[in-house]
């Protein structure tokens, strides 16, 4: 997937300046999600659950080769086919060749971040295959030709009025219809799509090694239909999604739901082991699991970044983040946005490609407190910033300014002089006027300093 990460500074200002409705919609939705998460956590011993989940995921990641091998063996024993994709291009080729092999003309899709990551829809459409996103939010975005802006609520940046206009225009629904009417209009189109489709494509929340189970969580029922009605089911799953045993699954299903929406569990969970084999089962005749690396082994090998692979894609860190709330996900320029995106994207894509995301944070720590698997996001952001500094990826002016600061701070006479100038003129004015600091200070409001420097007050005795 091409990224627009580099444009983060300009895109975020554009969204805030030109499209204030986005900030209102995203802030409203994320605050509501965040409150539900807090309620969901409060009903259980959330600290213990989160420590447990962190432990299971870290154990799995440090033995990932073993569990991947076990999952493959088990899935094959269940009659499913397993495919390995090293990168996005390989993953697309695998799905395309499966579509050709099964003579697929139309596809229904459940919401999948990995499918977005590998840019699957354009490839399918280019081959003349009809593609229907079936998650209501994703369907809205497909009609608008937009990308999702939130892991969980892909269209949270859209207002009711925007959906009313879209559906009136594209589905012929009555103008100004309420959400119920609009949902019914989408249901009519998508119900036919489900019945017609040859192939269902989903992601996977978890893959249980012991039983070869792909577990999928949702509320609408579209994933249950996607994995049940078409004759072929393809699950595109990141290699980090493994869980060792069936005994681990129930805790993760519950914790993911609580972190995401505060629910005790998603309204629907699909546990897919393989193709239908019993005569009474009307499920798919073929099940394929595509295991996608696409940068994940690089993250796994990284000294600090590997912990980001524990991520459950619940969106809790996005909901808690005061920076994400200002712009929504589109400003970030890649499928994984918000705090988790800012630590995961540098690992998946390379730090150079993901600049300046590690800097798109105030380091307030709300993300780490929300995270159901306790990913130390602020610490990781600092690590990426340090690496960026070392690799010379930060602006040269900023590096020079820091060097200048260091040389002033280590010379007492010079430091005194600079302090006096600063306190008389006001820090913002001085900083903006300086050749080095100007760029840094342009986006920041600095506090008004005391009229006297600390050293002057110290000498006179503080009143």
């Amino acid at each position: 997937m091409h990224t627009r990460i580099r444009d983060y500074p300009s895109r975020s200002s554009e969204i805030i300046r030109d499209d204030p409705g986005v900030r209102d919609a995203v802030t409203g939705a994320t605050i509501a999600f965040d409150q539900k998460r807090l309620q969901g956590y409060a009903e259980v011993d959330a600290d213990a659950w989160r420590r447990w989940a962190e432990g299971v995921k870290s154990h799995t990641l440090t033995h990932l080769d073993r569990y991947l091998a076990e999952a493959e063996t088990q899935l094959e024993a269940n009659g499913a086919e397993v495919h390995w994709a090293a990168d996005a291009a390989e993953a697309r080729e695998i799905v395309m060749s499966l579509a050709a092999r099964h003579s697929v003309k139309s596809v229904v899709k459940g919401k999948s971040m990995v499918a977005e990551e590998i840019d699957l829809n354009p490839a399918l459409e280019a081959a003349g295959i009809e593609v229907y996103e079936t998650d209501l939010g994703e369907y809205i975005l497909q009609l608008l030709e937009e990308e999702p802006s939130h892991i969980l609520g892909p269209a949270i940046h859209k207002s009711l009025q925007q959906v009313q206009e879209l559906f009136a225009d594209r589905l012929g629904s009555e103008p100004g219809g309420d959400p119920d009417t609009l949902a019914r209009a989408a249901r009519r189109v998508l119900r036919d799509a489900f019945i017609q489709a040859d192939m269902g494509i989903t992601g996977g929340n978890f893959l249980v090694a012991e039983t070869g189970t792909v577990a999928l969580i949702e509320n609408e029922g579209n994933i249950r239909l996607t994995t049940s009605l078409p004759r072929v089911h393809v699950a595109v799953v990141g290699i980090e999604k493994l869980l060792p045993r069936m005994a681990d699954l129930s805790g993760f299903l519950q914790l993911t739901a609580r972190a995401a929406t505060g629910q005790p569990i998603g309204c629907f969970v699909s546990l897919v082991q393989g193709p239908a084999s019993h005569p009474d089962d009307d499920g798919p005749e073929a099940v394929h699991v595509v295991l996608v690396d696409n940068g994940r082994t690089d993250v796994l090998a990284h000294e600090h970044a590997w912990e980001a692979l524990r991520c459950l894609r619940c969106g809790a860190c996005l909901n808690a983040c005061p920076v994400y709330r200002q712009t929504g996900g589109h400003a970030y320029g890649y499928v994984y946005s918000g705090p988790i995106g800012s630590v995961l994207d540098p690992g998946l894509l390379g730090l150079h490609e993901a600049m300046p995301l590690p800097f798109a944070s105030s380091l307030c720590g709300a993300c780490e407190d929300a995270c159901p698997v306790r990913i130390p996001i602020p610490e990781m952001l600092l690590e990426w910033r340090r690496e960026a500094q070392e690799e010379g990826l930060t602006p040269w002016k900023e590096r020079a300014a820091l060097k200048g600061l260091a040389s002033v701070a280590t010379r007492p006479g010079l430091y005194r002089l600079a302090g006096r100038i600063g306190s008389r003129l006001g820090a913002t004015g001085v900083a903006r006027g300086l050749p080095m600091l100007g760029e840094w200070a342009a986006d920041r409001a600095l506090p008004q300093p005391s009229r006297r420097t600390f050293r002057e007050l110290w000498r006179k005795g503080i009143e």
């Binding site: 440090t62 990932l64 609009l182 049940s228 005790p264 998603g266 009307d282 082994t297 090998a301």
Partner: protein
């Protein structure tokens, strides 16, 4: 796989923390009812005085809007089958399934794919017969018991189909059934 092995090689393996201890309610049936209805599911209690099939037929006739055709899962036993007009999943106004069991802590009905998925998913109303003594205190207990004989797929249904993707307003019956009714026998 070799790449994954190389990537994990430099890091010591961390231990598995064992099982997650979650509370077990004393009365699993009550706990199930509370959770399931809390998520928008409905619960009906079969009349022990009536043959189950007859009770079910009366219950279905009492639903609004009028049930015009029922889709019956093949594993619903003969004594449970109401004498009503049958229809295929896509055209039925209610689907009748037999649950393998239920989990109290999450309020989930456990539905194996052998009960045919069209019946569980396509009609706007899903009526699920829950045999007595099949409510597990925890989902974990249910999944472990099921583990040995897992069918091709299992659905956990914990309420009606829901979405809040349009204007953050919750609507039901988006894709799956808009009503999910568990019948306690």
């Amino acid at each position: 796989m070799a790449r994954v092995a190389r990537a994990t090689a430099s890091r010591p393996g961390l231990p598995h923390p064992g099982a997650l201890a979650t509370p077990r309610s004393d009365n699993a049936v009550d706990a199930f009812v509370k959770r399931f209805t809390g998520s928008g599911g409905e619960v009906a209690r079969a009349d022990p005085e009536l043959p189950p099939g007859e009770w079910l037929a009366r219950f279905l006739r009492g639903l609004e809007p009028q049930v015009t055709g029922v889709a019956l899962a093949p594993d619903v036993p003969p004594e449970l089958r109401p004498r009503l007009q049958e229809a295929a999943g896509a055209h039925a106004s209610a689907g009748i399934s037999l649950a393998w069991g239920a989990a109290a802590d999450t309020g989930s009905l456990v539905l194996p794919s052998t009960g045919t998925r069209a019946v569980q998913l396509l009609p706007p109303v899903h009526v699920v017969w829950l045999p007595a003594g099949r409510v597990f205190a925890r989902l974990d207990d249910a999944l472990l018991e099921l583990g040995a004989g897992l069918p091709a797929a299992v659905g956990l249904h914990s309420g009606p189909s829901k979405s809040a993707d349009i204007g953050r307003t919750v609507v039901t019956g988006v894709h799956g059934p808009g009503r999910c009714i568990a019948v306690l026998s």
